[in-house]
Symmetry: D2
Subunit: 157 residues, 4 copies
């Protein structure tokens, strides 16, 4: 019923963050809880925005903020503590006031991601929360990180 | 690119939990963070399993456990602290060893849900983590909570 | 080396919230993770402030906010999913611009709390983050919730 | 009423992890939530155990596990997204079946920690949850990370 994704290699992502799996993100089943993967994606997305000059998250920051209108993930392998994590980030489609972000979470040196995810961001005025067209900094960020998903290598499980 | 959902009223869900929005689940933007909605869905799903006799989450528990292979959510309205939350739960499709769960998160007395979500659970042996056919307790639980999504009222925004 | 607390009964607390243990707050050891207890305390503290008219957490809110300068907890019993939680709240000491809050987390119908905690809040101007004397609404809230810890029943384990 | 700690420099800690501040760990006040600091401490503690051969966190792991009987933190400076975090770890006292762990959280290149914390761990049998004397691997880990807190440099604020 819901769209299926397939695992991707690191080369499908143009930009990464590296971080450490948190102990508290494992659940009763001894593995990284499914919901917590999306917290790593949210961090990677916002670091990509900040490091590309497209978001100032400080209280005095100006410019639009991104509200998530849709998110989701698909899981291919379990991840367990402790592990270094590499989170790949890309922009999969560019709308008038929205971006679709794609993510891959890689544990250590795995060839394929343990999970993929996506977030649809609508950019809004910080105060009125009304959608705004992408300005120059968001457009530059989106272009720098854009990967056409139709060019993905076929690695279907 | 990714499938869109529309908001639903409470009557679209046969079973609910009630809980309290956690202070730490709000983010820099002053609202419930998008990822945290899925944590409430995960709680609701596992309480539905436990209360229908289909999961024993204790260390000595027997029987299959559900691994999430796909999740996702769509967001219609912001939710802010403090708020009582009502999480509606239903089963949207029944497979041989899997169930698709649907959720709606309602803040206080809202007529329509602030967000919808879904989790696809594959039921596996607790030790081998190999998929198993749904046994009697999971089948009973699924039938008790099943709602055919094609019968949803049209409330599209 | 660090100060020890002993478990308390419900009557040691003048005010409570009731909530649901989140699935994601359990860790690898199959119980509520020690850190997550403090998230429930933070929620209870902020609900106590809001419901006593001493905090407006909305973006347009006025008046001081509380910054935590110290927190801590002591654990007496494990808590496991699923469980209703009752979080008791009290004010243990009242300073010029600070309050020391005390908490007890009770699982279901337990006679004694599974854990106790405390937060020291300094109240500051929302913008300058400089400490401010407690105003009338914070003082009223503090007096309504004050319990002298030296009057605690002796229940030491 | 509760014991006060003072901020420490990096040299007060013999061992560190480095990680990335998670977006979802900031709260309504635009800074790292007080509770989330303890989640970073929990990760650092468990990585120290694993990397010193004193904990096997996998389902088939043998040997004792540490249960937290007391935790706490003191906060000296706010930390905001995005930031690399360095978490310093040390053992502050060694008991028969318990260890007191001390932590310092450093944002980027700060000379002094933004927060300190402590966890008291009692080591128990994985199944019976009865306390056990520290075995050879825990004792070696504790000795490698031990720092006598009475030798701390005086940096009181």
């Amino acid at each position: 019923m819901y769209q299926r994704l397939h695992p991707l290699p690191k080369k499908a992502f143009p930009w990464f963050i590296e971080t450490q799996l948190q102990w508290t993100d494992s659940d009763l089943y001894g593995h990284l809880n499914n919901v917590s993967y999306l917290a790593y994606f949210d961090t990677a997305l916002n670091m990509a925005l900040v490091e590309h000059g497209a978001l100032d998250p400080t209280p005095s920051g100006q410019g639009p903020i991104g509200l998530v209108v849709q998110n989701g993930a698909q899981f291919f392998a379990e991840v367990a503590f402790p592990s270094r994590l590499h989170i790949g980030v890309r922009v999969e489609s560019i709308g008038r006031s929205s971006l679709t972000w794609g993510f891959g979470l890689f544990a250590r040196d795995a060839a394929l991601c343990a999970a993929r995810g996506y977030f649809v961001h609508v950019y809004v005025d910080r105060d009125t929360r009304r959608p705004q067209p992408l300005g120059p900094s968001l457009s530059r960020c989106a272009e720098a990180l854009f990967v056409d998903p139709t060019s993905d290598p076929a690695t279907g499980q």
